[in-house]
Symmetry: none
Subunit: 236 residues, 2 copies
Amino acid sequence: LPMVAKIATDDYVGFTFFVGCMAMMAASAFFFLSMNGFDRKWRASILVSGIITFIAAVHYWYMRDYWAANGESPTFFRYVDWVLTVPLMCVEFYLILKVAGAKKSLMWRLIFLSVIMLVTGYFGEAVYRDQAQIWGLISGIAYFVIVYDIWLGKAKKLAQEAGGAVLQAHKTLCWFVLVGWAIYPIGYMAGTPGWYEGIFGGLALDVVYNIGDAINKIGFGLVVYNLAVTATKSEE
Amino acid sequence: LPMVAKIATDDYVGFTFFVGCMAMMAASAFFFLSMNGFDRKWRASILVSGIITFIAAVHYWYMRDYWAANGESPTFFRYVDWVLTVPLMCVEFYLILKVAGAKKSLMWRLIFLSVIMLVTGYFGEAVYRDQAQIWGLISGIAYFVIVYDIWLGKAKKLAQEAGGAVLQAHKTLCWFVLVGWAIYPIGYMAGTPGWYEGIFGGLALDVVYNIGDAINKIGFGLVVYNLAVTATKSEE
Ligand SMILES: CC1=C(/C=C/C(C)=C/C=C/C(C)=C/C=O)C(C)(C)CCC1
Ligand SMILES: CC1=C(/C=C/C(C)=C/C=C/C(C)=C/C=O)C(C)(C)CCC1
């Protein structure tokens, strides 16, 4: 017999897991199938956009089933997903700034910071919950350094040198990191003990994360796609 | 009901199995989808990079579940994986040196040595554990000959004749074999009885192997990818 879980019609968390999973699969098909229509220099960026949503699609597939089976937040799988997709988003920053001469060191710096942010976040959220505040603080500092680097540091200078469509895309991605990514620390505070308890309690954590992921991963990819479209047009 | 294992949040071995599995899938998508953007002479090399990570993705899928179900090292599956992927890495050496006139005999020699290395290693680790030292020694000699061949033997001469980006890539791959692959004999000594007991005991074997595999397979593939990118650019 085919195994398909019955899901309660008012299970909104389950609903967003299913919608999220399909949206990620659809986005991957979109990026993968459109990449070859662009000039070589944009292909790697669009391919990486597709890889990010593909990784998410696989994890949403587990998380959906995990939720249906256990009625619990699949924190473990979220972090498996993030530890791969967030560094890849750092790679995207590098790839679009390469035209302006970005060095690999910029990429490795962002990747390193993002891994610190996620590993310490995982410790606070899943392993050493009693010390969630201190782990969250370290994670937050790494997040802050990333925000600083792309908004005001070297990445910003490179984007300005590139100008035009690249500068525009870089700015939009910076807003994603500042506003879109800020959803996650809010989720963390809603889900761990600390001075912030009571402010963010009672949020349906997974609904927030699921919507945030869709915006951050698919939206991020679409910005890169759009950059390729605009740049291709202006070259014609 | 869908079957998704619950995994303890501090099960780092499980975590690296999941991250490794997804990283291998993502890398395969990356290599498979980018290969056609390159000139014909690079396509086979990039395709083989993708095949290597694809084989690993499938085995990590088993190993992940094996670990979740039994809490035991999936040694059997690791060797099934290695006996296919390691010879394919030898093929990669041949493929990138073909431009300099590498002969198939070089490839077969490396393949033969790698199979000897793995079969004797499997006997020592999984079948005749009492004689782990002697099997490990034979395996180590084969490993040593591979290292010699690529660092100082015929492969090196060919790389020097090719020069440029090929020489650079060959050198990087040589470092992978000397340093990256050295992880595995350490794992062997940590997991079998012998004079070396006590030196390497207590290591979380699978975490080490999982990180090693990710570096050796994906990193190896990226070196080849990078060679194709560099060579394509300098030809334009
Ligand atoms: C600052 C901070 C965090 C930040 C997490 C972020 C920024 C995650 C981003 C995820 C993305 C972008 C996923 C995919 O789209 C944690 C780890 C919750 C821990 C608490 C402090
Ligand atoms: C020398 C030696 C070994 C070497 C194993 C190696 C070198 C494995 C390489 C695996 C790779 C590269 C996998 C995929 O990425 C064994 C068999 C552990 C047995 C003990 C002696």
